[in-house]
Subunit: 417 residues, 2 copies
């Protein structure tokens, strides 16, 4: 007998028919002799409908009351799923975030979990129940209802799995698992049997958003094995764990891309100490995340440097730089979009020199120039022109021996709803 | 500065436009310099919609999960109303039942309030907030979410008013106040300026269901003045309090009726001790409330007796009696519907003999025979044939000097939605 946490997203419980299917899936697992805790999101469009109602009453959407409002979405899901499971003859009980013991920091809309007191979950399991827990929500020490923000239900599932020492946390989604790259671009993408937390983190952060990075970090920290699998079939899925068995000769596990990229360049900046700190401090204080930073050579005491930000942050970043001009007499600021960041990820590349060089060569052979580069021990990222993205990804997939004979079969786009 | 609890039902907050109107009404009160706590029900059809969804998943509607499900209805209302009030420039904060400190017995679907710990409500008021509290719900000592059952939001309002020592509890409804009788039947019904708790209790129990009897009992017990008034206009409403000022010469304050009545007769029962206890014990154990009981004379060691029950309980009651036949050899059981219970209520009748006699006389003068009678210190009830109900009520209204010159103006039927 194993203890599983099973997480189903909003589209998996979009209506009562789908709810019944999820109930059946959970009972199947219980019938195999396992203990099950189910984490579930709000049904389909519930959250959007509630937001629409709120907008009609208060355009500012005050955060504390929005948490009060939106947490009803998961509370509806858990009670209905519990009833659906009971209708199949199994004992089931639902808990809100606060009932399941989720204590968060006192922040609304994007609280972090401080700790979990899962006594009631454990007691209910011991009493033979399937336990249903509302994703995405918690409570402060003062009894205020909070939400965990983006990726919240994944994080709920992983954190709860760690707290109750589950054997695994299964994330049910609309794809079969983690693929070597986007199967919509490369038809012969391979489904990965296993992947390490670090590789998954790189992929998650790079836009292959089947799992939220925060959930992966939590899993890595606590050592809970994650299983990403489809809610529509019984295929095996991908296991995310500490030390993924490395296939013979596989250096690169996956290729990710991110279209949400803009490059900003500051030209002719006085080359004095503290300049970078000033620029990036100002950007950080506006909540703008900077990804890659490149400084070019200094000439006549002036330097040029470039950095990449999310496309959606570009206007905001340019405004911040304009505001700095009085203190920082640069010559010019330019920016560029229609870019894409392509990344190869693989734990194997640590011990294989030349992996990056091969990437640059493959990209060049497609007639594409590389604008920025960043590397980590298990990743190389290149910012390139977006026009030939598909050709570049296909060429890299082939060059790193990732093509399989079979075509990838996926239930939908490999993008998180 | 006074402290008011204001209660709005589901139809008053049926959509976002009505929600805005309620917000405006509350802010008006606050602008007069008062502290306001608002108790609100689920919006319009929300509860019914949730029940429909649940039915599709589990026809048994398990009580614990139904409480989990249905309490989301009020949670949506309170957060939206809080946002609507904030949009008008006032500080507001919403609390669920458990956050407002409602502790109930461990029963689902119809829990009674054990006690209230309103610290958070008091703190929020002290902080200058308008406080919005979810009606109809509470929490057990074990942290289980419960609902208070029928009339729950009225009870929430009154109990909270008592707990925070409010100066009054205003029940906003779709009628102007409490009338001397149903204004749909008697056009010249009079709106009562004041009425005592006891009179209101009799009227509430007798089907003039503007206020739920449980809420009136709570108010009587705690001495909180209730004000029943319209959410659609600023008319004065009716004050329900301990000692209502008695108008000169008014003996009867109101005339109520209840169509939900059936009479059951058991004929030829052996007249031995314990028979009544056996019959009514068996009915009570099936949750059947018996109202009036009449035993006729004994002949040849056999007795006949009749009792009234709610029409909806008739079949169930007959089944119970059938089950008793082996132990209780009665001759025959008969039952009768198309009946109505008409009642006159008035604190003044204690000191005015002949009030009941006058009632019997008025009913007889309409050619209607009286089937059963029951009396209390402030009430006389007669079960009669339903056919001439309107004539009887009009005649009683005139006989007890209740007719006014003006026609009653009401926003809707004097029946609780």
């Amino acid at each position: 007998m194993s203890l599983y946490v099973m997480k189903f997203g909003g589209s998996s419980v979009g209506d009562t028919e789908r709810m019944k299917r999820v109930a059946g899936r959970v009972v199947e697992k219980a019938d195999e002799g396992h203990q099950c805790v189910v984490v579930v999101s709000a049904m389909g469009d519930t959250t959007d409908d509630l937001i629409d109602q709120a907008k009609m009453l208060n355009s500012e959407l005050p955060a504390r009351e929005m948490d009060m409002l939106l947490t009803t979405g998961e509370q509806i899901s858990i009670s209905l799923l519990s009833m659906a499971i009971q209708a199949l003859g199994r004992k089931a009980i639902s808990f809100t975030g606060w009932q399941a013991g989720f204590r968060t920091e006192p922040v609304h809309g994007k609280a972090r979990i401080n700790n979990i007191h899962p006594e009631r979950v454990n007691e209910a399991l011991a009493g033979g129940n399937i336990v249903i827990v509302a994703g995405f929500q918690g409570m402060t020490e003062d009894g205020e209802i909070t939400t965990l923000g983006r990726g919240g239900s994944d994080t709920t599932a992983v954190a709860l799995a760690a707290a109750i020492k589950a054997d695994a946390c299964e994330i049910y989604t609309d794809v079969d698992g983690i693929y070597s790259t986007d199967p919509r671009i490369v038809k012969v993408a391979r489904k990965l049997k296993e992947i390490s937390y670090d590789e998954m983190l790189e992929l998650a952060n790079l836009g292959a958003a089947v799992l939220h990075p925060r959930a992966v970090e939590y899993a890595k920290h606590s050592g809970v094995p994650l299983i990403v699998r489809s809610s529509f079939n019984h295929n095996e899925g991908t296991v995310v764990k500490e030390e993924a068995a490395m296939e013979q000769g596989v250096v690169v596990s996956g290729i990710a891309y991110d279209k949400n990229v803009a490059r900003i360049s500051i030209l002719g900046v006085p080359d004095v100490p503290g300049v970078l700190a000033e620029v990036f401090g100002a950007l950080a204080s506006e909540q703008i995340d900077v990804d890659i930073i490149v400084q070019s050579g200094v000439m006549d005491g002036k330097a040029d440097f470039s950095f990449s930000v999310a496309l959606s942050d570009r206007e905001n970043a340019l405004r911040v730089l304009e505001g700095l001009h009085s203190r920082l007499p640069y010559r010019e600021v330019t920016s560029e979009d229609n870019l894409v960041k392509v990344s190869i990820v693989g734990a194997g590349m640590v011990s294989h020199p030349g992996v990056a060089a091969k990437m640059f060569q493959v990209i060049s052979s497609q007639g594409v120039s590389i604008k920025m580069v960043s590397t980590s021990e298990i990743k190389v990222s290149c910012v390139i022109d977006g026009d030939k993205l598909h050709d570049v990804i296909k060429a890299l997939h082939t060059a790193y021996d990732l093509d399989t004979a079979e075509q990838a079969v996926v239930g939908g786009p490999q993008v998180r709803r």
